[in-house]
Subunit: 409 residues, 2 copies
């Protein structure tokens, strides 16, 4: 069988760190990113943290001639921050918002407000259907005591399920984004084992860029040096992953990262380094369906480990739900007591008001405020418990099915 | 080509109205539903409004011998209420929660707390892959002035996109649920035109049950008669929809609904009537891909109309966002003024406190409460605006693509 010619696809992925009012030299960097993308002429550009639609519009205007097709994914209070620019027509789009994404009261972290999601765009090049996913998972603020690990694991699980269920008619699957996970972390092993996606960095025939493919490096003037202290080389948390169905083969010919300061400028594009992959896709004679190999035990291990993390999160969420419920109950009791005392003193049953009017009113306001707040928190954590339980159950079922297959093999 | 034998599939769909503390004779009805399902031996059972996991456990226990496979979808604060019982192994599940679902402050309606969703289960019978969807959309509380119409239209759109994107490897697609839409409503036309799903009631070779296939009927002792006054026969809002890919053909041999009181009992199963379909699936020689026909103009009409509804919703959401933002600002101003006055009188700049201490404190508490509430509402409505905008944009793009295809034809 004669093989079809190879299709080359050049992909650019970057967490742009474009937070209005907060990110340093934002507008200048957005313009710089736009200019570079126009000059370099990639086929596909996957961006994260483009929080403001104004910045998206600037990019769209700059890139219109070179990348005539684009999509901005709206989500959450602020937005998903995700957008895609493409040289090829975007045939279809879809957005999935993760069910868990931090806490609204963690204002200093703010992930909750962004409505973290995974966006899908479908493109077709030379008859080959590409499902392109772009995502950004919950940030890791403290690796030693990572309170968001269960949420991130749930996000990785949902990302894997979303890709699995929506990519069944695709010839090539491509995922780019800031996964906020180191290459050996449980979430990334789970994602890769569930979907069969391959890591462009590990597969690349040529690599050029920061050592070990790191995308958050101390050399970048915008990174927080103290956070990177345990990792002198930096960390790799931005990825391009890919796979093809059996009729096609994908190879990563080259992977590059930027290395801090942009060429000819005094600033980098972002606090993250960009990841750029050159992929080669070609049609091949159908290979036989893989039999039970090394993939399934790895998947079982990853699901098992992820389930443990989800359980830990479930316990913590249950404690928070209990604490907020108890606080709401106490506030309600206090209010009721005050109401009884107030009514009693009005009706003349009590000898006199035990508290001065001012303190009485202040206490009542405080109790009412506490009741409202605690009730809201209780609802929030009840939902959190529900979602963690749901994921834990899904993982349990997946493990049972896997163990059945492994046992039968 | 010899055709394969026909596969018969008997499907049961019911909104169970099993709300703890609120639904009348709930436990008795859940037991009744369980007993009937066990006796009748359907292949597939799609239930909605099973809000409590306790009720699901009762059903699971009752049905274990007859329907060994089941799944309960967890979502929102209360749950999605969705569950599936099956005679055949459930190979895979996935849940998509709608991005808009009413308002948390509409406590009397409560839809927001349920996390309305669409659940997917994948089953395989005789080598045929079935993607089975179960869903429940936002209720319609007042048809004349339906404040939730834009949210329901967004849900119908997301449902259609979810089915389109996840069913690409399925041979047969089946959707059952309470769509809270009359057959001619824009949302259902949109859903059907986007997905190509066919209505079992319209396609059935035999029908038996309530007139016009209604599933909310005045004869049912649990329905609110005043709500059904404009519809003397009742309304049809519960559906079984289906389609097959070109290699397969599905026919609805028979459709039945229950008709109020359950046989031999003094109560019905629920305030809704159950819908029961007998489908025949058979493999057929591949039919040619349909060319541009009557479906695309119908789709363009439905998307256009839906987009108008979303725009109306967007305007209303923008007004609510503006009103809540203004309220938050006013409350903040009042608080700042009070703080200035308080500090002034403490520092001896003002001749005296203009208000008695008690009123001063009460006012401050009130302002603080109003600020918190209004800020929360503002965030909520900002997210609502964002999601409506996103859907409006998606519809605009879909329309443009459609018009391009229609123009080229």
């Amino acid at each position: 069988m004669e093989e079809d010619p190879t299709l080359q696809l050049r992909v650019f992925d970057l967490n742009c760190w474009a937070i209005r009012y907060l990110s340093k030299r934002r507008q200048e960097r957005v313009q710089l990113i736009g200019d570079t993308l126009r000059r370099e002429g990639f086929d596909l550009v996957l961006l994260q943290e483009v929080w403001s639609e104004g910045d998206y519009s600037v990019l769209k205007e700059t890139l219109g001639s070179c990348y005539p097709f684009s999509h901005y994914f709206r989500s959450g209070v602020i937005g998903s921050g995700l957008c895609v620019f493409s040289r090829f027509p975007i045939l279809d789009t879809f957005l999935y918002q993760y069910s868990l994404n931090g806490y609204p009261y963690m204002l200093q972290h703010g992930d909750w407000f962004c409505g973290k999601s995974v966006g899908l765009v479908v493109i077709k090049i030379s008859g080959i259907v590409f499902n392109i996913y772009v995502t950004h998972l919950h940030a890791e603020y403290c690796r030693e005591k990572d309170a968001y690990l269960p949420h991130r694991v749930v996000q990785a699980w949902e990302l894997a399920q979303f890709i699995r269920h929506t990519s069944k008619a695709a010839d090539v699957v491509l995922l780019g984004g800031d996964l906020n996970m180191h290459p050996e972390d449980v979430g990334i092993r789970l994602l890769r084992a569930c979907t069969g996606l391959r890591d462009a960095f590990a597969e690349a025939q040529r690599f050029e860029g920061c050592e070990a493919g790191c995308t958050l490096v101390p050399d970048n003037c915008f990174t927080v040096k103290t956070e990177l202290q345990p990792f002198p080389l930096g960390i790799r948390i931005d990825y391009i992953l890919y796979k093809a169905v059996s009729d096609f083969a994908v190879k990563c010919e080259e992977l590059r990262t930027t290395t801090g300061t942009a060429p000819g400028k005094d600033i980098p594009y972002s606090d993250h380094e960009a990841v750029m992959a050159t992929l080669h896709v070609r049609r091949q004679s159908r290979t036989p369906e893989p039999t039970l190999g090394t993939a399934e035990p790895a998947l079982a291990d990853a699901v098992n480990e992820a389930r443990t993390e989800v359980r830990v999160g479930l316990q913590a969420a249950r404690r928070r739900r209990y604490a907020s419920g108890r606080m709401a109950l106490l506030a309600l009791l206090l209010l009721l007591l005050q109401a009884a005392a107030g009514l009693g003193s009005l009706a003349g049953w009590a000898p006199g008001q035990p508290l001065p009017k001012l303190s009485f009113c202040l206490l009542a306001s405080l109790a009412a405020g506490a009741l409202l707040l605690a009730a809201g928190l209780h609802l929030f954590h009840t939902r959190e418990v529900k979602m963690l339980q749901g994921t834990e159950e899904e993982m349990r079922l997946a493990l049972r099915a896997l163990q059945g297959r492994l046992g039968a093999a």
